[in-house]
């Protein structure tokens, strides 16, 4: 069977799209997954390990199964014969361990026959052709979902070449005096980890982080909040997206208590500039904007796609309007899909894009 459907990117975004298509009845032979690493968590795993992340930030829907239910909470409750995960889940307090999440990815990878669809390939160009898209010599596909992931780590230019500097998402140990640049979730995790390792920590930040459970307000995960967001003029929409990207980490004593204690002991302080530290950890996240991704930048320039600020303008179902019609589909998933769904870089957001893509594929009779 010649695949008519391609997923470009073999990370979690591509994996969620794959399981969603499989749930819709597509056989492994009908889908081609083009990517670097056959492990869907291959990019995510070392980053989580680097910041010593133990718990997922996302809640009950933070998994890769195509349906929201049963999620990790329900399955853990069934396995342990314990209702507590469900209780935590209905209180929005269920946070599965990274270990559990990764085991789930491994299990689903096997049961969904992901490896049968995977092709080791790096795609640099997507070119719209009659009846589909040509992917860098890998063939023409009628329906393509691009899930390229984050376009690299963001490093403040002043630390380029500084031997003391390391990015939070790269493997590292802690020196005795550490400066941590940034104020988001990764930075907060690094503060706590470095303090626990006995380091003296200086938090370098340009602004105070917001305290919220998720980056994006919960109503924006459904039509209720999305309708207002989508009705906004383009410039306002871009402004809102910038706001969602402001640094934040969840409220709670598990964050506050170690920081308060370290502040009392004189081991944690906030500063605007570096001052005599042994190590600089850049918890500054990822580069932002499609122009940092060569594949997307080329796609926009070669096809004259609409963009607003650093986002590609997408239809509400996460498809590229100029290149999608009744016979072919080009969708974006993951962080480049924020124009359609502000929380596109979460697992829920990846499902949103995947479901929109699947609906297009199912509607197309010649798939």
């Amino acid at each position: 069977m010649t695949p008519r459907v391609a997923i470009v990117g073999s990370g979690l975004g591509g994996f969620v799209a794959y399981t969603t298509l499989r749930h819709g009845g597509l056989a492994p032979g009908e889908i081609a997954v083009l990517g670097n690493d056959p492990d869907p968590a291959g990019a995510w795993r070392p980053r989580a390990a680097a910041i010593r992340q133990r718990l997922m930030r996302s809640e009950s829907d933070g998994h890769c199964w195509p349906t929201s239910f049963p999620g990790l909470a329900a399955r853990e409750a069934a396995r342990r014969r314990d209702l507590w995960p469900l209780v935590l889940s209905v209180c929005d307090r269920y946070r599965p361990t990274v270990e559990l999440f990764l085991a789930h990815v491994d299990e689903l990878r096997s049961s969904s026959h992901w490896d049968e669809s995977f092709r080791q390939a790096r795609v640099h160009h997507v070119r719209a052709v009659h009846g589909g898209f040509e992917l860098d010599g890998h063939g023409v596909f009628r329906h393509v979902l691009l899930a390229p992931g984050h376009p690299g780590l963001a490093r403040p230019p002043e630390f380029e070449g500084d031997p003391r500097a390391v990015h939070a998402y790269e493997p590292h140990a802690y020196a005795s005096r550490v400066a941590i640049v940034g104020a988001g979730m990764a930075a907060a995790t690094e503060w706590v980890n470095a303090l626990a390792a006995g380091a003296e920590v200086t938090s370098i930040r340009r602004r105070e982080p917001a305290r919220r459970p998720l980056n994006v307000a919960r109503p924006l995960f459904s039509k209720r909040g999305l309708s207002g967001f989508r009705a906004a003029p383009r410039a306002r929409r871009a402004e809102l997206l910038r706001g969602f990207g402001e640094p934040s980490y969840p409220p709670g004593r598990s964050w506050d208590a170690p920081l308060e204690q370290a502040t009392r002991e004189g081991r944690f302080h906030v500063a605007h500039e570096l001052d005599g530290v042994d190590q600089v950890i850049c918890a500054t996240g990822f580069r932002r904007g499609f122009e940092h991704d060569p594949l997307l930048a080329a796609l926009v320039s070669e096809h004259g796609l609409e963009a607003e600020s650093r986002w590609i303008v997408l239809a509400d179902d996460s498809t590229v309007p100029a290149l999608t019609d009744a016979t072919r589909t080009l969708s974006l998933a993951g962080v480049p899909a924020q124009w359609a769904f502000p929380a596109a870089d979460t697992l829920v957001g990846m499902k949103f894009a995947a479901r929109g893509f699947r609906a297009r594929v199912e509607r197309c009779r010649t798939r």
Partner: protein, 394 residues
């Protein structure tokens, strides 16, 4: 979950389908309106709260909020049922509500996200299916209510004034008296599904006689001056609520006598005031719940449950009885709880040692279980005679 208004309504209607169908089946089977009425009330209150309260106040609704909202809706539904005089028995009504709530939770947390992948991100909306459901819901309600209306027993309004009796009710119907409606000479009920409301009955051998009938309701009836029983029930199942019985001080008068229906569904006597007569409320070989009644001035016993009867006697107030207050006799099994019995006087003239002002008595092989009764100024206290047993219930 962040519901849209449409999503809330469609989810609510989807969850209401099963309870509504259940009620539509239960009502004709039980010959009772309350399941349908309660279902309608529940859906109506739920939809009103969705639109007026929940949607504006809850842009995001965590799962746990379903519990306090459910309790709030339960309170509103039961309050409205009371206000609209829907006589739903408490425990079945609570069970029905709890079942419907559970269906909603299972649907919202498991079934709908499974059946419709985009349900969470669509804010609970069900697409074309939801529109069809929203359109079908009023049609279904109209059809079911229409059928129910068509098969409902006729209602007869009894005008104010005195109507000569005996009034014989031999087919299903509802008699509703206007203020001042009086039947002189008694009412005889021989058919199932008869309801008598707001009627005063004067005279007659029996004030109201129910014979071989089921699902009979007597609501707010007043019986005065009957020669024998205020209400006489034989081989029947009745629910008597909020009645007033004033018995004559004659040798054989009884307020309410329910007998020989042990093989039928339990009867109920609730919220009645019974004054005078030999016995206040008496059951022979029947299953009866006697609760929240006030009985006073009886000359033999205030409440009698005897001849292998079974039942619950709870929350009654008894005062000024002669001889015995509550009597559980002749191999009956009685649960006697939360009653207040006071001023039971010894019947010295009878020469009967079992009638010396006994507030609660078990007699001849009967088994009485007691809990939280209050006994005042009754010299005989609580006593068992002739192989009867009294146990305190924990």
């Amino acid at each position: 979950m962040s519901y849209t208004l449409r999503g809330r309504i469609e989810t609510r209607l989807t969850a209401a389908v099963l309870p509504f169908l259940f009620a539509a089946v239960a009502s004709p089977v039980l010959h009772k309106w309350w399941p349908l009425e309660l279902a309608g009330l529940m859906i109506g209150i739920g939809l009103t709260l969705d639109a007026a309260l929940y949607h504006p106040l809850l842009p995001y609704q965590p799962g746990w909020v379903a519990l306090p909202l459910g309790l709030f809706e339960l309170g509103a539904t039961m309050g409205a049922a009371r206000l609209l005089e829907i006589h739903a028995p408490l425990y079945p009504a609570l069970g029905f509500f709890a079942g419907a709530w559970l269906v909603l939770q299972v649907l919202a947390h498991a079934a709908l996200p499974l059946l419709r992948l985009t349900w969470p991100e669509d804010g609970g909306e069900l697409g074309r299916g939801g529109i069809a459901l929203a359109a079908a819901a009023p049609v279904a309600i109209v059809v079911v209510v229409g059928i129910a209306w068509a098969v409902e027993p006729p209602t007869v309004r009894l005008a104010a004034g005195v109507h000569p009796g005996p009034l014989v009710l031999d087919h299903a119907q509802t008699i509703t008296g206007e203020p001042g409606a009086v039947v002189r000479g008694g009412i005889v009920i021989t058919a199932d599904d008869v309801t008598v409301k707001n009627v005063t009955v004067r005279g007659g051998e029996y004030g109201i006689e129910v014979d071989g009938a089921e699902s009979v309701e007597l609501d707010h009836v007043v019986v005065e001056g009957a020669a024998l029983d205020g209400v006489n029930v034989r081989r029947s199942q009745v629910e008597i609520r909020n009645c007033t019985i004033r018995s004559l001080p004659a040798a054989f008068t009884q307020g309410i006598d329910i007998s020989f229906g042990n093989d039928l569904h339990p009867s109920l006597v609730e919220g009645c005031t019974v004054t005078g007569g030999q016995e206040g409320i008496v059951t022979h070989f029947a299953m009866v719940m006697v609760r929240d009644n006030h009985i006073s001035g009886t000359e033999l016993r205030a409440i009698t449950m005897t001849e292998m009867s079974m039942g619950l006697i709870e929350d009654n107030e008894i005062d000024g009885a002669l001889g015995v207050g509550i009597f559980c006799g002749d191999y009956s099994e009685c649960e006697i709880e939360d009653n207040a019995v006071s001023d039971v006087e010894p019947d010295l003239d009878s020469g009967d040692l079992t009638r010396l002002g006994v507030a609660i008595q078990a007699h001849r092989g009967a088994q009485a279980q007691l809990r939280d009764n209050v006994v005042r100024t009754s010299p005989g206290g609580v006593a068992a005679f002739v192989d009867a047993t009294i146990r305190e219930k924990r």
